[in-house]
């Protein structure tokens, strides 16, 4: 099994910022993302309750460098006023090249 190390960036955000977040992520170099609807609770109270649009959890596997770019951008642009959190983890992926922009082997 030939794996490569990448970063898994997870963003949990209220629905209103979803599309802007997705655009940014891909603009900053992510080659893909996986998304699901979630409900959550945090310092701003409940989010994604039935009667409002569900919050989303966005996961993207990227290089260390792009991960930082994404995290920084989200922090600066959304933290102050939106229900958004970001966290990073290491992952080993197969087909590493898949997750690096213009497929430079990772």
């Amino acid at each position: 099994m030939q794996t490569a190390s990448y970063r898994l960036v997870t963003i949990v955000a209220e629905r209103t910022v979803r599309d802007r977040l997705l655009n940014t992520i891909h603009r900053l170099g992510a080659t893909g993302h996986t998304m699901q609807e979630v409900q959550g609770e945090g310092t701003r109270g409940l989010s994604g309750a039935t009667w409002e649009r569900p919050s989303v959890k966005i996961e993207t596997i990227v290089t260390e460098e792009i991960a930082e770019r994404i995290a920084d951008h989200v922090a600066e642009r959304y933290f102050q006023h939106h229900s958004v959190i970001v966290y990073l983890q290491d992952v080993e992926v197969l087909r590493g090249s898949k997750y690096a922009p213009q497929n430079e082997e990772a």
Binding site: T50, W51, H82
Partner: protein, 319 residues
């Protein structure tokens, strides 16, 4: 008056709302799947639009102009009154006051539907084109509310994004879109879809209010955090705006039923379009305030006491 109050209080629609609230109170595991709730709200908004559009296609424009202008006027005035009350009497900060103003100036589609049903039932049906007025009332107040906030320097949110959110929001698209469809298709074209959108309407609304009752009850838990003033505001403001709406509606040439429904519309507070826009335009405003007030206090008040009240008032003024 009393019989109408009872009739509306004891309609399945209102009772379903109560049942939902009870279910939350007894900690029942009853849960309306979120997709069902969303499906119902899409259905209801589209159905209102379709009905309104069909009615418009059969109404001479001249009849609509007066009420339309009156509605827009109220949509601009009421956020200002709300803002003033909140700032002067409530000593509330500008941001939250503006956010609440946007909500109380705008309209709650479900309150509208309930009012139409009650008026119907009370033997004073409202004009068929009323849904058109809902679309007209929804937007301006939100814009005014945000303008008040933006008029005061630096903002976290984006004015453009907020405007886009308002005019391309699901409720506007479905209301206006439905109206366009109903208007173009006319009564002949509408016939085949009416079993689905017309006959099924009241039942779907019942199911919808079951969840509304649950949501409202959950919201009530935050009551403490919002303070007594907001509770009072959530009851007094609708009465004032409602009376104003009934009165202006009458002047604009609406029937007794129409004036009552307009009163209910004006008194109601948006909890779908406005929150969406405010989250974008005024993210620093506290949802606990505007959601608890509009969903937890004003909506239940109007559904139970408010609507019959406006109807009675309309009868007095109109008769």
């Amino acid at each position: 008056m009393l019989d109408v109050l009872l009739a509306s209080l004891l309609s399945p629609v209102v009772l379903a709302f109560v049942l939902g609230a009870l279910a939350v109170t007894v900690k029942s595991d009853l849960e309306i799947p979120a997709p069902l709730y969303r499906a119902l709200s899409i259905y209801l908004l589209l159905a209102i639009g379709l009905k309104g559009g069909k009615a418009l296609s059969e109404t001479p424009l001249t009849e609509v102009v007066g009420p339309a202008l009156a509605t827009v006027g109220l949509g601009i005035l009421t956020p200002i009154t709300a803002y003033t009350v909140l700032r002067r009497l409530g000593r509330m900060d500008r941001t939250n006051a503006a956010a609440l103003a946007a909500h109380y100036g705008s309209v709650s589609a479900v309150t509208f539907i309930a009012a139409v049903t009650v008026a119907q039932f009370a033997g004073v049906p409202s004009e068929g084109f009323m849904p058109a007025l809902v679309a007209l009332l929804e937007v301006p107040a939100i814009i005014v509310g945000l303008m008040i906030a933006y008029a005061r320097g630096e903002r976290a949110g984006s004015w453009r994004d907020a405007m886009r959110e308002v005019v391309t929001g699901q409720s506007i698209v479905l209301l206006l879109g439905g109206m366009a469809i109903g208007w173009i298709a006319g009564s002949e074209g509408m016939a085949p879809v009416e079993p689905f959108f017309v006959s099924g309407f009241q039942g779907a609304l019942t199911l919808f209010l079951l969840e509304m009752g649950m949501a409202a009850a959950r919201r009530l838990r935050d009551l403490r955090s919002v303070g007594m003033f907001l509770v009072g505001f959530g009851i007094a403001m609708p009465i004032v705006h409602g009376a104003l709406g009934v009165w202006v509606g009458g002047l604009a040439g609406l029937s007794v039923g129409g004036a009552a429904v307009l009163g209910a519309m004006v008194s109601s507070a948006s909890y779908i379009a406005a929150p969406a826009a405010v989250r974008v335009g005024l993210p620093e405003a506290n949802p606990a305030y505007y959601l608890t007030a509009s969903l937890g206090i004003t909506f239940p008040f109007n559904l139970t006491v408010g609507i019959p009240l406006y109807l009675a008032l309309a009868k007095v003024l109109g008769g």
